[in-house]
């Protein structure tokens, strides 16, 4: 993946996907820097809206994953 910024383009290398309470965290590296992207359910919906119908299926799948992750975490703690 490539990330563009005002100081140039950088590679984003995803390393781990973690489920947290109410969000997913994609951990990785931007070159030598550690980096992470957090997705809340609202972000998934916004992504789907931005991408249009083509993203509906993967977005729905992502929402399901987040929901399952939340349920799994809450059960694990209980």
């Amino acid at each position: 993946m490539k990330v563009s910024s005002p100081v140039g383009d950088f590679p984003f290398e995803p390393l781990r996907l973690k489920a947290g309470p109410g969000h997913l965290t994609l951990e990785g590296q931007v070159g030598a820097w550690p980096a992470r992207v957090e997705f809340a359910p609202g972000d998934i919906v916004a992504l789907a809206r931005a991408a249009g119908a083509r993203a509906a299926v993967p977005a729905l799948a992502a929402v399901v994953v987040v929901s399952l992750a939340r349920r799994w975490i809450s059960h694990g703690r209980g």
Partner: protein, 262 residues
């Protein structure tokens, strides 16, 4: 041995030095490349050669101070002093500032060094509708290319003849010297002089792209000569990346030759 700068010059210098010294390359950005993209073939080629030669990397790390025998680095690993027998400084170049040209006047919005203008333009920021580019070299050409899609009226100003302008423009003013910027808050005019005559260009952006200078931002290694420092900053535009690499290798060919090799 520390090499500051992971652009083509720094990478080529590191590759040249690696067979005879332990070399660590520093760059404030987290990837090699400098002004070139990290996935540019020249960058990937040189970086792979460096790694194969045993060069170590401290990228995403800013060196802020050099004292002979050690340097102060700030990066993901924290703030720390690191030992280094010699510093090879390959920090690239920058256009002359308004003070260096010299161009008089207050600090005004819209007056931008070419590297900043290029970054902003690439981030889709419109720089202005009547843009003046000072200079005709590589910085000027890159700035012109970056704003090509902004539908701006572009005037190029050169002190010398117009022969060196190898890129498109809407107007060209050659043989005039910029002397002042004017405006209230934002630049609205650039005053030029020639043989006692004055000409004022109406503009809302001025891109500084003339008279490249070596970029020096490490305390203790700003002024040349500095003890224990070799500068790998060619004064002139070195052309292709291969030519730039070759020039950098030449500039460090004698470094470390007389000291004990690793």
């Amino acid at each position: 041995m520390a090499v500051i700068g992971a652009g083509v010059a720094g990478l080529a210098a590191a590759e040249e030095l690696a067979p005879r010294r332990d070399v660590v390359v520093f760059d404030r950005l987290p990837v090699p490349g400098g002004v070139l993209p990290y996935d540019h073939p020249g960058v990937t080629t040189l970086a792979a050669r460096c790694t194969a030669a045993g060069v170590r990397w401290l990228l995403g790390t800013t060196v802020v101070r050099w004292e002979q025998g050690r340097l102060l680095a700030v990066g993901p690993q924290g703030v720390e002093w690191l030992d280094a027998s010699h510093l090879v400084f390959a920090g690239g170049s920058r256009p002359a500032t308004t003070a260096e040209l010299p161009v008089a006047g207050p600090r005004l919005a819209g007056v931008l060094p070419a590297p900043v203008a290029i970054h902003l333009a690439e981030a889709k920021v419109t720089l202005g509708r009547r843009v003046v580019i000072l200079g005709a070299g590589a910085w000027a050409e890159a700035a012109r290319e970056a704003i090509a899609g902004q539908r701006s009226h572009v005037t190029v100003v050169t002190r010398e003849s117009a022969d060196g302008v190898a890129f498109g423009h809407d107007a060209l003013v050659s043989g005039w010297t910029p002397v002042a910027v004017s405006g209230r808050g934002r630049v609205s005019g650039l005053t030029l002089e020639r043989a006692g005559q004055q000409l004022v260009l109406d503009c809302d952006a001025v891109i500084l792209a003339a008279s490249p200078r070596p970029l020096r931002n490490v305390d203790g290694a700003i002024f040349e000569p500095a003890a224990g420092v070799t500068y790998v900053q060619p004064a002139a535009d070195t052309g292709t990346w291969e030519q730039a690499a070759s020039a950098a290798r030449d500039m460090v060919s004698q470094v470390g030759q007389t000291e004990v090799s690793r």
